[in-house]
Amino acid sequence: MKYVYFLWLLFLFILPISIVFVYSFLEPQIYGGVKWSFSLEAYSYLPRYLALIWRSVWIAGVATLITLVVAVPVAFYIARSKLKNFLLLLTVVPFWTNSLIRIYAWKIVLGNNGLVNQFLGLFGIDPVQFLYNSFAVILVIVYTYLPFAILPLYAAMEKVEDSILEASLDLGASRMYTFIRVLLPNVRAGLLTAFVFVFIPALGSYAIPDLVGGVNSKMIGNEIVRQLLTVRNWPVASAMSNILTLIALLSIIFVMKRGEKR
């Protein structure tokens, strides 16, 4: 059966990714499809997408940073709690809930006559446009991927001996100092895993910027889909996919190199 497994992933994962790679070096046909002649034309489009690529990296980066800042204390608390299993379950349930419903929930909460604006209205504040901007995209990315960060961090925190934290406190370090200088270096591997689990899917987001983002908060994923399905320029869609994969791989290599240092 391992051959079935091997061949399955070879034909339905490696082969399709290779097709995307090859298509990016071909010429487009008008209604989709490709002409089998070598061309670098698709890549010549990239300079005009630099702003979009930079914005995607920026949105995913900020969202990942916020996610990690929240996930670290939560994971620490769960790992030290008597209600460990119950709190883990509470963390996992939103992770299982359909992601579209979770995006949709924020449309209800943040919409022009949504809950937040109704609340602000009580104080006589005019409706604020919360949706369709980078703020909304970052918020929903954080909401969607927070459990992805809590779980690996929890696994790392659980292994940290309490005695080293106590030792730090006994030697006169403040709680904050102990948290940052003793606990965090010990959960380095968990932090790096959490970074990869959040940053890569965030960078490749399609549904979130599509549903709660505006014209100025579109990400690479949206442009790939537009090039593929609307403009029907397959080589450009393929070239952009390769750039996305490249950024994802570079960030993993970067993270792994950082992990090796200690």
Partner: protein
Amino acid sequence: MKPGRFIKTIVILTMVFFYLPLFIVVLMSFNSAKSPVWSGFTLKWYLELFTREYSVWHAFRNSLIVAIVSSTVSTAIGTLTAIELFWKKSRLENSIWFLTYLPFVVPDVIIGISLLLLFSMFKVQLGLFTITLAHITFSIPYTMMIVHSRLQDFDKSIIEAAYDLGSTDFQVFYRVIIPNLVPGIVAAFLLAFTLSIDDFVITFFVAGPGSTTLPIQIYSMIRFGISPTVNAISTFMIAGTILIGFVLRRFVRYIF
């Protein structure tokens, strides 16, 4: 070191952050107005869902078919592969682990479009068949890893004991390994099932006309005009998730 009050506050706020939006969706499914302004209790959106929204039920049926087939196939392939890797040294082992980790680091959008280009290259008609192939592809690395991690706790001396007592390979497999693996296999199946029922992005590319799944149906309802029946569907899905969550709780340590 005991977590202080500051950390406790962050945890409480995070749980509120997790659940408040979901709670509001459930609440709005009972709201008589179309807008999110509360104007009285009603069950009419549920009535509408059961009596008029045929397309939702059609999509739900498609989702179920795909989820059952893809999670069964991927659990079978994943389980047997994990057992083979555990049982005998293999020259393929390194390549298999490489192929297992790779899908985790490739964004969904790319898996989706690459499969679309593959199917169009080989002129495969898009539909439930292509969706099922795609779902098996993204599920098998998970099923293989879950069963494999369960096998790490497996005491190899039981296998040796079975051989010493005269078991054949097949008996060892069927009578010793499989029964010990049941929790891992159930966890793998449920995870693959949930991944399949939930997937939107990859399905979006490989679904053809008439093969709409529930997430795709919900997407188009959110995208093109919101009817509060979405709240009613969402309430069912949230309830279903919590239910599966409680079932999975027993097996959850084999997943994370």
